[in-house]
Amino acid sequence: MFKLIVFIIFSAWAVISSLGVVLFSNPVYVILWLLSALISIAGIFFVAGAELVGALQLIIYAVAIAVFYIFVLTAVPWEKALKKDSHYRVEGVIAFPFIILLYIEMFIVFTLGVMASPKKQLKLFIERIGNAEVVGSILFSKYFIAFEIVSLVLLMGMIGAVLIGRKESQTYDGDTS
């Protein structure tokens, strides 16, 4: 019961924060709302019993990734961006019914899926030896190749980001349209 109340609080917080991400116009407020959403989602993970994912959510998402955004926000001069309106108004109105449609579809699929799903097979085993250990052991045995591929993708992403974001002073001068 107590768990459920905490979960509801975190969920409401997350939904409100994500609404803030979508609706606010100033980029700095948007990044703050995103941070708030990430932290509340980490809270949801903790409530659900996935401490490892929650802690990694805090470390990687809330610290590393969101700080990238802050860096970019301060690196780009935003006076120009703030003058324009920040949303496509017409497209938003058109898209709204489709979002509702998406929700209805999700609702149907989820109800069907939940009715068909089995219950708690490995719960006891996991509770005996601890969550983080189980995640680690399965991650490094069954999904080892996937893990390595993800690390490779990370490396490629790093190199790509460096290559793309590098300042090439000569190449594109005079090429701007």
Partner: protein
């Protein structure tokens, strides 16, 4: 029902004690720092308020609180105040996973002197500790000042760089202990009769470098840089708001990271260690209080070491700091990780 009430009471008392420790000792560390600085420079330091300046932090607090609250005209007032809260809360929250001593019995009830024994405690420490970067970035942005912005950007860069190094550095002790919970790590060190400092000196060096960089201590205090940036991101803060930023950044964070260093490398509350043989306890006469005294003693020594460094070394340049992080500290930490993986079975036995 009675059981729940007693448990809640215990948790409340723990929270109060931890808050008192974090903020009270944090405030008194200002006096310690001033005294250490003064004596290294052959001055007596604060002497007037109280015996040898013992009431100086209270006097400072009263002075700062009664000061006028200034605000830069074109700043953003909401973010300006939010930055302060975001600096204070994560720094104090980290204390929730610091174990102060072994399990004790009071009135037939076993009490762990730790607020929450999460099984990912160490990850939580670094996750929460690094949230300070938002406080600093926001403070710099909301102040609408060039110096504040430069200082906050420098700090964000340094924290990102050293977060990587510190995470890889603590992986060594974690691998030896085989757990992520702070309480269990200390227990593992006592069981294995080994402070991890004896087998992980490289990790300890990397950890200390990262501690200094993340808390903005000399030699890595380029984001404050009194001479060039007029104290960086706190330029536009006045009164008690200015007082709280250094309190959090220089004292509370150093305190938490020192406590975590003691937990990871110096066996928490255990007495002096002879590797693989056992523990020597010169403070045995204190009985059940000895572990707590040992813990406080180790943290205090580490903290004094940090202060001592502060008044010895000059300041690095920003490019040197990030170059050290990526070119020296990260490879060292990775190398240490490989070696640890080789020797770990020897220690597990």
């Amino acid at each position: 029902m009675m059981e729940i009430a007693i448990n809640l009471l215990i948790i409340l008392i723990k929270i109060l004690v931890i808050l008192a420790i974090a903020l009270g000792i944090g405030a008194y560390l200002t006096l310690v720092e001033r005294k250490v600085a003064a004596h290294i420079q052959r001055r007596p330091g604060p002497m007037v308020v109280g015996w040898h300046g013992l009431l100086q932090p209270i006097a400072d607090g009263v002075k700062l609180i009664t000061k006028e609250d200034l605000f830069p005209r074109y700043g953003n007032r909401f973010l300006y105040n939010l930055a302060l809260i975001m600096a204070l809360v994560p720094a104090v929250l980290v204390f929730a996973v610091v174990p102060f001593g072994p399990t004790i019995e009071i009135g037939g009830r076993e009490i762990k002197p730790i607020l929450t024994d999460v099984n990912v405690g160490i990850l939580l420490v670094f996750g929460l500790g690094s949230l300070a970067v938002y406080a600093i970035a926001l403070a710099g942005w909301a102040s609408n000042s060039k110096y504040a912005l430069i200082g906050s950007m420098r700090k964000a860069g340094i924290i990102i760089s050293y977060e990587v190094a510190i995470t890889f550095a603590v992986m060594g002790p974690l691998m030896l202990a085989g757990t992520l919970s702070t309480f269990e790590i200390v227990q593992a060190q006592i069981d294995q009769k080994l402070w991890y400092f004896w087998v992980q000196p490289v990790a300890f060096v990397v950890y200390m470098f990262s501690l200094l960089a993340e808390t903005g201590r000399i030699p890595f205090d380029i984001q404050e840089a009194e001479a060039e940036l007029v104290t960086g991101f706190t330029v536009e803060y006045g009164g008690i708001k200015f007082g709280l930023f250094p309190l959090v950044e220089w004292y509370v964070e150093v305190l938490t990271l020192s406590a975590i260093a003691v937990v990871l490398f110096f066996g928490g509350w255990s007495p002096i260690n002879i590797p693989f043989l056992g523990f020597v306890d010169p403070l045995f006469f204190l009985g059940p209080f000895a572990p707590f005294v040992w813990f406080v003693l180790k943290v205090a020594l580490l903290l004094l070491f940090v202060l001592w460094l502060h008044w010895t070394l000059p300041r690095y340049r920003i490019d040197q700091i990030t170059a050290i992080a990526w070119k020296v500290m990260l490879p060292l930490a990775l190398l240490n990780l490989v070696i640890t993986a080789v020797i770990a079975p020897l220690i597990w036995r």
